[in-house]
């Protein structure tokens, strides 16, 4: 018994030692490193640079129209007399803020509804699923176009966010619910209940750690969804186009025929920025998945 015991002790020492080391130094893979770098540059640039200008980038006629790229106007000016560079900086900031806020709301709602529906079950689950499934089956873009047409020009930036949340939470909720559904039948959930844990404690302390890494990835993907959908709406003129966002730049560039009047940067700059931002988010999400979610054997 004693020898055995010492062997066991040695085995755990190495096991916990390894896990402690892993916790101290999470192994960042190339994708995660690249993604985080891109995101950091975008976030820092778009949130710090606005402090260095006193000009409202969306005001028309601040500068001369259609100036070429120069030291004073890094990306030139557009046909409305705005600095493309500053417009872009504010656009990235607004798009990111919208994406993060919308994604936070969507992830919170999806997790709350999904976990409770999956774990509590019964009639509550049936009602929740009815609502979730309805929202999943409603095609988002046509509805948004109709809504946009109704409030054309008068929609506030806030309203766009609310609409995105309303149509974005259902998929996540359904996925989380199916995870909770399978977890509910696991023995350790039973054990937690047997130890006197309340339903709330079981959801937050037993099930949540299990779905947490999925949710981080979901959160990043939802930022993508929010930015993407807002841009799509803006391009066809259904968002609040006066507010600089990645989509609204493209809207204005298209409506002033930027491509034909030689204002290439007006159109190309926001497209490159959008693609880079998406790349950063995508690399972070897949990289995170690789680095952390599989760490404890949870795919």
């Amino acid at each position: 018994m004693k020898v055995n015991h010492r062997l066991l002790r040695g085995a755990t020492l190495t096991a916990t030692g390894a896990s402690a080391a892993r916790r101290r130094l999470p192994k960042l893979n190339l994708r995660l490193k690249l993604g985080i770098t891109i995101l950091t540059v975008f976030v820092l640039a778009s949130f710090i640079l606005p402090f260095f200008t006193s000009v409202d980038p969306s005001r028309q006629g601040t500068y001369l129209k259609n100036l070429p790229i120069s030291g004073r106007h890094l990306l030139g000016t557009n046909s409305q007399g705005q600095s493309i560079f500053w417009f872009l900086v504010f656009a990235i900031r607004n798009s990111l803020m919208l994406g993060v806020v919308v994604s936070l709301c969507i992830t919170a709602i999806a997790t709350l509804v999904g976990l409770s529906a999956g774990y509590i079950g019964g009639w509550y689950e049936r009602v929740a699923m009815l609502i979730i499934d309805s929202f999943i089956t409603i095609p988002v873009l046509p509805i948004l176009i109709v809504l946009g047409a109704l409030v054309r020009g008068n929609s506030s930036f806030m309203l766009v966010g609310v609409i995105l949340v309303a149509f974005g939470w259902a998929w996540g909720a359904r996925t989380v619910r199916s995870m909770a559904l399978s977890l509910r039948e696991r023995e350790f959930i039973n054990m937690a209940r047997f130890s006197g844990a309340s339903t709330f404690a079981i959801i937050t302390r037993e099930i949540f750690p299990y779905v947490y890494s999925y949710m981080v990835v979901g959160f990043i993907n939802t930022i993508l969804f929010a930015i993407n959908t807002e841009a799509a709406l803006a391009v066809i003129g259904l968002s609040k186009v006066e507010v600089p966002t990645l989509g609204s730049i493209i809207f204005w560039a298209l409506s002033y025929n930027a491509l034909f009047i030689g204002q290439i940067t007006w159109l190309v700059a926001p497209i490159v920025a959008t693609v880079l931002l998406f790349l950063g988010l995508f690399l972070t999400s897949t990289g995170y998945n690789d680095a952390f979610a599989t760490r404890r054997g949870v795919a």
């Binding site: 020492l13 916990t16 350790f188 130890s195 054997g297």
Partner: protein
């Protein structure tokens, strides 16, 4: 003392209701280890659930009561109605599958302090947990690990540690050593016995392994088709059983040096949907008469502390003697020369081993 009064555990299903535990009355003295044995579907686990107070749909305690023999903090007697508040404080449960009873994505220590903590100071509690775990034969740093980093035996030790941390009066263990190898089994059982010696708690143990029962239980309850058929000291259950089912059950166990031919028990346990009138064991019982098929025998005390539900309990020792007369393998071998070489050499090896 835990007192069960005519406990009936009923499952509600789409086909109707079925009594998985029927009319069980028991008195379990404080500080003993009670073993519950019987075949699959006889109601062992349901009785455990009822005892633990895990009474949620589809299981219900449709009649009878359980009195745990202690009072809660408001001075009220604890029964099935309010035992849930005492879970893991005064009554705890050691599960069957230690492999899956720990959350794989949460460190052991965080699962430990998940339990209703009596102190706000987490570091202090963790220190207590560490020293307690060490006392149970685990390295203290094992609580920093995830479940998959521990072996099966260590995980079961962790479960024992969690279940006994608050020094509960009652510990229910539902097949605590299934899926563990014999060496680890022994370790866990010894650990349970040590814990009991120190804390004087009552342990109720369900197991299919009669050897486990023989080694560690003080009293045994034998169940058959949702009924308690025999309740006695473990030595009496193995030595002088007073119910034919118990006899057949213990008689099926092989022992070293005993080469009597063994007879299986023909038939199957009855369906609980439609249990037979009279004694439920009658269709398979060698002692059964018409009386058994009509009148159900109650669980009565035939000898001091020895309860049996059989009309012919006094005839069981006779039956046992006749089973002991069963032909021996060595006799059969002499009459069948074809196999004598093989079996004979096997017997010789056996002699050498002895």
């Amino acid at each position: 003392m835990i007192r069960l009064n005519n406990v009936v555990g009923t499952y509600t299903t789409q086909r109707g209701t079925v009594n998985a535990v029927e009319d069980v009355s028991l008195e379990i003295p404080r500080g003993i280890t009670l073993g519950i044995a019987g075949e699959s579907g006889c109601g062992k686990s349901t009785l455990m659930k009822v005892l633990y107070g895990d009474l949620g749909f589809p299981l219900a305690l449709s009649s009878g009561s359980v009195d745990y023999g202690f009072r809660d903090e408001h001075g009220q007697a604890v029964t099935s109605q309010n035992i849930q508040k005492e879970w893991f404080k005064r009554i705890s449960y050691i599960p069957q599958s230690s492999m899956s009873s720990l959350n794989p994505v949460v460190r052991i220590r965080d699962q430990f302090v998940d339990f209703p903590s009596t102190s706000k100071n987490k570091a202090q509690v963790l220190e207590l947990v560490r020293s307690y775990v060490q006392k149970l034969g685990l390295p203290p740093e094992s609580i920093d690990a995830y479940a998959h980093q521990l072996s099966g035996g260590m995980r079961q030790r962790i479960m024992v540690a969690m279940a006994t941390f608050f020094r509960p009066e009652i510990i229910l263990a539902d097949e605590p050593t299934t899926a563990l190898d014999v060496v680890v089994q022994k370790g866990i059982l010894l650990l349970l016995m040590e814990v009991q010696q120190e804390m004087k708690n009552t342990i109720v143990l369900v197991s299919h392994d009669m050897g486990v029962h023989y080694q560690i239980t003080h009293k045994m309850l034998i169940m058959y088709a949702a009924k308690a058929v025999e309740y006695a000291d473990t030595d009496a259950v193995f030595g002088q059983p007073l119910h034919p089912y118990t006899l057949m059950l213990t008689n099926s166990l092989p022992t070293i040096g005993d080469d009597r031919a063994r007879q299986g028990l023909p038939g199957h346990p009855p369906s609980l949907w439609n249990p037979p009138q009279g004694c439920r064991f009658a269709p398979r019982c060698p002692l059964a008469t018409d009386r058994c098929r009509v009148h159900e025998p109650p669980l009565v005390e035939h000898q001091p502390g020895h309860f049996s539900a059989c009309h012919y309990a006094e005839n069981v020792p006779e039956l046992k003697a006749s089973l002991d007369q069963a032909p021996k393998l060595s006799d059969i071998v002499e009459n069948a020369p074809m196999f004598s070489d093989i079996v004979g050499s096997a017997l010789k090896v056996d002699e050498v081993a002895q």
